[in-house]
Symmetry: C2
Subunit: 205 residues, 2 copies
């Protein structure tokens, strides 16, 4: 196994498999097959076997995969066998929704800091958190050693905030602002922009 | 040009180009190059030229692309040269954030219906909308001819709601519930799940 050689498109499918496995486990299931997993995630059994085999031998012909074992291995591979502290920047509607979101539980992340540059919001609650002044963001993130951030600021300020996050040591940014970010190569960015996702579908309608 | 032959991965990049072009246009720019566009979106100039050339000849060697013309053509190709009515199902935190989201303006979408199955929420406001009873969802969507929906219900009820949406004529679903949906082949689904997006990044940390 050489992590550098695994195509990113495969890495992108692993969280989908992990999510489906965790849901199977929640339902009390112990084993699954590439067929069954494929039906859950809408990916062919052959593709799933190929993807998973990149990381070693996890299943046996005829007996399938142990859900518990494969879940543990995927969590290790994706490095979510630990909890990542996350800084949330932007306490608008989307920021509040994320601060209150229950879907991070057991998936490797917890929000620990919430920032906004709007004085009216600083000191207010966002979910279980108190919104802190964005002017203190860099110091707070550096001291806390936070490496993952979610960005829910307006498009016009997203690049500036991203630059500060990178300088403070952030290595992964989930960007909700509808703008592409310029960051150093060692920083990872994923984008969540509902209009972009929907435009990708209307092409086919 | 044969739309059926364009790989989905290229289609997925077109909304990114369109978004960058619209931002350039907002800043008063009239022309751009594949180099400049590439710097904005983090994709190589060669890849951009190749992607765009799938749909015809839009640029000239040396003079680059007319932002206005390329924008119009991309909007046509992605079928967002019109406004798609969107049904939002699930008036929780995320649903409220989407109902109030300003980012759909000028990008081809407008929410027209909001539903929830919680009696306490029915009749309440969500952004500019009144939350309607999910029991009336199928009829309302069918009569209104809505083809696009956003799903922000809990994972446990997402499949059931998706089935009803499909029966009512919905052809494209943006799914915020952290679960894969089983839908007929002619229905398109895009997923927004922050934990999945973040797990894809932690692999590299």
């Amino acid at each position: 196994m050489n992590a550098d050689k695994i195509p990113d498109i495969i890495i992108g499918r692993l969280p989908i498999y992990l999510r489906a496995l965790q849901r199977m486990s929640d339902r009390g299931l112990k084993t699954t097959s590439s067929q069954e997993l494929g039906e859950h995630v809408g990916i062919s059994a052959a593709q799933i076997r190929k993807d998973i085999s990149q990381f070693g031998e996890f299943g046996k012909q005829g007996t399938g995969y142990s859900i518990g074992y494969l879940t543990e291995r995927l969590r290790e591979i994706l490095k979510v066998d630990r909890i990542w502290d996350v800084a949330l920047v932007g306490a608008g509607d989307m920021g509040h929704a994320l601060a209150r979101y229950q879907g991070f539980t057991n998936r490797g992340f917890r929000i620990v800091l919430v920032f906004d540059n709007d004085r009216a919001k600083v000191g207010q609650r966002a979910g279980a958190f108190t919104v802190e002044d964005a002017a203190k963001m860099s110091d707070r993130i550096r001291v806390a050693g936070v490496r993952v951030a979610m960005l829910t600021v307006p498009a016009a300020s997203a690049q500036e905030v991203a630059d500060k996050l990178v300088q403070a040591g952030v290595k992964a940014i989930l960007n909700y602002a509808p703008v592409s970010l310029n960051v150093p190569k060692y920083v990872h960015v994923q984008y969540i922009d509902p209009a972009t996702h929907m435009q990708r579908m209307t092409y086919y309608l």
